[in-house]
Every structure is written in C-alpha cells, then in structure tokens.
C-alpha cells in the first residue's frame, strides 16, 4: 500500500505534528483546539457526504450526542474522562443506528429529516422537564475533569485517527465501493457491492467521528449550553469547509478549514456582519464557478490531489 503510506507521511504526519508543536509557539490554545475540532468534523462529514453523496444537515446532532454522552457520564457516574469519551462516541453511534431508516429518503428529504432529528435531540436535551438528568437549558459545567493539556492531546489523537480513516477510504476497495454507490447505486449493486451495508458503515463511521469530537469538545471547554453543542453552525461550517476544499479528497477539507476558518478568525470576530456578507458571497461564487472545490482547480492544472 505505497499510496496509503505516502499520504500518511505527507499529509497526516505534518498536520498532526504542526498541531502538536503550535501550542508552544502560539498562546491562543482554544483557537488551535477549534481548528482541530473543525478539521475532524469536516473530515467526518467528508466520509458521509464526499464518499456517499448524502448530505446530513443534522450532522451536529452526533457532535451534541457525543458531548452530552460524555458530560452525563462525568456528572452522574463520575467516570474517568476516557471512559466517558467512549460512552459519548457510543451515544453518537447509537443515534446514527436509530436514524438509519432515514436512508429510505433521498436528496433533500434526507437532509431535512436529519436536521429535524438533530433539532429533536436538542429539544429533548434542553427541555426544562429533564433538568434532573440533562440540566435542561441551563448548561453543563464539568470543572472536575478539566484538563486542557490531556484533552488537547486526545483531540489530536482523534484527528489523527480520522485522517487515517479518510486516507484509507481514499485508497481502499471500500472507499472505491462507496464512491461507486454515490455515482450510481443500481450499477454498484449489480457490480456486487452490498449497497445498504456499505452505506450504513460509512454513516456509522461518520457519526463515530462526530461523537468523539463532541465528547472531547465537552471535555476541553467544560462549560457549555445545549445550543452550543447542537448549533447548526457546526454542520454549516463543516459543509462549507468540505465544499471549499473539495469533497472526497484528503487535503480538501483540511485546506477548507485552514483557509476559511483562518479568515473567519482574522476578520469575523471583530465585524461579524461583514464577515457573514463576505462568507455568503464566497460560498455563492464557489458553487457557481468552482462547484468541486479548490481540489478541482488543482486537478484542472494537472496536479494530482490526494
């Protein structure tokens, strides 16, 4: 598998190394952490959208499920963070299993139903009637397990695993099968691909990534409201990052996060409306003139994009 080895050493290693070294050079660790979370989420979305063509507008639901799975374990059972993280990821995957019937829907129906599902989970979690269990709308405080260094390292490990997964998908038989399903599910089925099974595996992997990201996000920030971890902005940002860079590639979403989230932090914080205006216009321009992202531009110039 020389191509996998090449991508692991040329993409995964530099990215992870950069985020491992940067905290000692740059003092805004929360910003670096957010970059890691967004690259992870963008790649997680890339698994389901880039490789199967299903666009889950409620992707943030898995992120939130991971964050709440983590927090409830810590609050009610005082479990150690890594155990809680595993439970958070399991919560996200369970939610994904519950939502597998949504695959009966296609296109816009799937996207909207998934968004409705994420909003339902948010409404349940933030309902004042469940205050004893979920703290309702008043938010979560996890001061007991607060450990920025360890949680940052864990987030980095999750990022590395996610990148490795996407690199595997990019070069493996399984990833090829997924892309065949995306292009034409009927032909793919006739070529001997188990369409339903492969699609659901991709879906669960995608949810697993978001659940882990959500759990480690809860651990790192340790104080948050339901609206924070179920904010549709997480989904929207991830979609835009993937689209900007180029879906179904390894470097595309990374490029998208670094460029767009970088711009966001440079100008967006001080003048949010102007940023929103530029951002919206940029998205429109991309869809109209570069619908397959930056990666397609490079490919047009004859450069191979991993």
């Amino acid at each position: 598998m020389p191509r996998i080895a090449r991508d692991l050493s040329l993409i995964l290693l530099p990215v992870v190394a950069a985020f491992a070294i940067l905290p000692s050079l740059y003092s805004n660790h929360l910003l670096l952490f957010n970059f890691i979370i967004f690259i992870t989420l963008a790649q997680g979305l890339n698994i389901i959208y880039g490789f199967t063509g299903y666009l889950p507008f409620g992707y943030v639901g898995f992120f939130g499920a991971g964050a709440y799975g983590f927090s409830l374990m810590v609050i009610h059972l005082q479990s150690p963070p890594l155990v809680a993280l595993a439970v958070g990821a399991a919560a996200a995957v369970t939610l994904a299993v519950l939502l597998t019937p949504l695959f009966r829907l296609s296109g816009a129906y799937f996207s909207i139903a998934n968004l409705a599902a994420a909003l339902t989970v948010l409404q349940v979690v933030s309902n004042p009637n469940l205050e004893d269990i979920t703290k309702g709308p008043y938010g979560i405080t996890l001061s007991g397990v607060f450990n920025p260094a360890l949680s940052y390292g864990t987030a980095l490990a999750i990022l590395a695993a996610t990148l490795a997964l996407v690199i595997y998908l990019r070069h493996s038989h399984f990833g090829m099968a997924l892309r065949a399903i995306r292009e034409d599910p009927i032909s793919a089925g006739m070529a001997g691909i188990n369409v339903v099974r492969e699609r659901i595996i991709a879906w669960l992997l995608s949810a697993l990534v978001a659940g882990l990201a959500g759990g480690v996000f809860a651990w790192y920030v340790s104080v948050f409201y339901p609206e924070t971890v179920f904010s549709v902005e997480f989904t929207i940002f991830s979609i835009v990052f993937v689209l900007f860079g180029g879906s179904a590639t390894v470097v595309g979403p990374i490029l998208g996060v670094i460029v767009l989230y970088g711009i966001y932090n440079a100008v967006g914080i001080s003048t949010p409306q102007y940023f929103q205006l530029i951002y919206g216009a940029l998205i429109m321009g991309l869809v109209l003139f570069l619908p397959n992202g930056l990666a397609s531009l490079l490919q047009r110039w004859g450069i191979h994009v991993p």
Binding site: A117, I236, Y274, G280, L282, I283, M284, L288
Partner: protein
C-alpha cells in the same frame, strides 16, 4: 379549548401554507432548494414595517406592493443564479449550498443596514382593515377589535392573516391551473426535458415561477410581524426550517400538497400548545420524521406523480 385549538390551528395552518408555498413552487419547477426563502420572507416583513412606519401604509395594501416588488426582483435573480446552477452535476444538492450563501448575504446585508433590534407592527392595524370591511357591509363605522368565530375569540390579526393566506393559495391555484403560463409551468414541473423538446421557453417559465415564489415569501413576510412575533434580520433560518417541515409533510414539488402540510402542521402545533405546551416545540420535527418514514415522499407524494 378543543374548538379553539382546532380553529387557531386552521388559521395558523393557512399561514404556514403561505410560508411554504413559494418554496415548494420553486422546488417543483426547478428542482432546487431555496434555502434563502425565510430571508426573503424577512425582507418582506421589513418592507411592511417601513411602509407602515414611514408612509403609514396599512399592511393589507402592502401585500400588493411586496408581491409585485419581489416578483420584479426575482426575475433577474433567476437569470443570475439558476441557469448556471442547473448545468452542474448535482444541482439539487448544490442549490442547498448556493442559497445558503445567499441567505447569509441577505441576513448580513439587512443587519448592516438596520441593526439587530426587534421590530413589530401594532396588531390593531390589521384589525382596522377588518373593521373597514365590516363597516362597508354594515353601513356604519365598526370598532376594530377581536373577532368571534364559532363562539371563540381570536385576535383580528390572526383572522386577517389566515384569510389572506387562503386567498393567496387560491390565486396560486388559479395561476397554475387556469392560465396558460400555469399550464406551461406544470409541464416543466412534470418533465423538464420534454418541456424543452415541446418548444416551451423553460427559462422564461421558471423565472416567472421563481419570481412568484419570492413574491409569496414576501407576502407571508408582511403578516410575519403578527403571526410569528417581532422581526429581526435573523429570523430567516428558523422560518426556512418551518417552511420545509410544512412542504415535506405535504410533499416536495406539489404546491397544493402544501395546504395539507400547512394545516396538519398548524393544527398539531396548536393542539400541543394547548395540551402539552412543555413539549410543543418538539412536535413539528417528530411529525416531519414520522411522516417521512411512513411515506418517504410526503403525504401526497406518489398519487400526484402518477396523475
């Protein structure tokens, strides 16, 4: 209580129908998803607000101004965005993202222009409209105030909005089923390629439908200050989601299915508000998922496609 909920649900259902109708028309004709629908509605609401505060124009005539104005805006916007989009590989998915960008631009532009403060129009302005009509029939001036329907009392603004929404739905029916343009529009909805082959100017027909879609959003926007509460530039996204729930329940691409979706949505929302208000917000989403799982293309999905 039950009668009240059902009637209020019906009034709101008609209004929700109006919210979804334009979105569904655009989807039906162009197979694109106008994620900026709620933002056009918000612009319509701001238009009604400024007409009301600056020129003292009552919201009822403002409906006409909003509709005509947005049709005129929608026509060139169609030619700017949609033909290029339809040439892409997966226009339906890309339209999601394109119109999300547009919605961001509109929201940001409105925020820059007007700020984020909440605005509202006094509810009695619609009451005055109904009182004017009543006094025409009665031959003497009538005080504006709450309206009685089947022994239940409702704010006049709800009744006017409901009636106006019903009228708008009827006009869309006339447009689609009783005019030549509507005949061509339905041909394009049925099969775009065959419509092209039959010599229909698909872009002209689609541009008209796009304009009407935006116009309907603006009309719904005029009533938004009375039905949805005070308006800010940020209400668009939530309205879009509501509109989606309504038209997906009815079935995407079938404008008249929107009526069914709207009424189901409105009545069930009001019933939940009356009997189980703590969980009322969850209902639309659960309803949407449940209906989709039972009938993957909406309640009226298949029958209409066969017809």
């Amino acid at each position: 209580m039950l009668t009240y909920s059902l009637l209020a649900g019906l009034l709101f259902g008609l209004y929700f129908t109006l919210i979804g109708l334009g979105l569904n028309l655009v989807f039906g004709v162009m197979r694109i998803v106008n994620l900026a629908h709620g933002d056009f509605l918000m612009l319509g609401a701001f238009l009604a607000f400024w007409l009301s505060t600056l020129f003292a124009i009552n919201p009822v005539p403002a409906v006409v101004i909003a509709f005509v104005g947005f049709v005129i805006v929608g026509w060139p916007l169609y030619y700017l965005l949609v033909p290029r989009l339809l040439r892409a590989k997966d226009p339906e998915m890309l339209s999601f993202i394109l119109f999300f960008g547009l919605s961001q631009v509109i929201e940001a532009g409105t925020t820059i222009a007007f700020g984020t403060s909440e605005r509202s129009i006094p509810g009695n302005q619609l009451g005055q409209a109904i009182a004017t009509v009543e006094s025409l029939f009665a031959g003497h001036p009538v005080e504006s105030g709450p309206v009685d329907l089947f022994g239940q009392t409702f704010p006049a603004s709800w009744v006017v909005s409901g009636i106006a929404s019903g009228a708008a739905v009827l006009l869309v029916y006339v447009y689609l089923y009783r005019t030549r343009l509507g005949y061509l529009t339905r041909a394009v909805m049925d099969n775009r390629e065959e419509a092209v082959a039959a010599g229909i100017d698909v872009h002209r027909v689609s541009a008209a439908a796009f304009g009407v879609g935006l116009g309907l959003a603006a009309v719904a926007g005029v009533f938004a200050p009375f039905m949805l509460g005070s308006i800010t530039p940020a209400i668009g996204a939530e309205v879009t989601i509501t509109a989606f729930a309504v038209i997906v329940i009815g079935s995407l691409g079938n404008p008249l299915g929107t009526v069914l979706g709207g009424v189901i949505y409105g009545v069930s929302y009001m019933l939940m508000q009356s009997y189980y208000s703590a969980w009322a917000n969850i209902l639309p989403d659960v309803l949407l998922i449940a209906i989709l799982l039972v009938r993957p293309s909406g309640l009226l999905g298949r029958q209409v496609r066969r017809a």
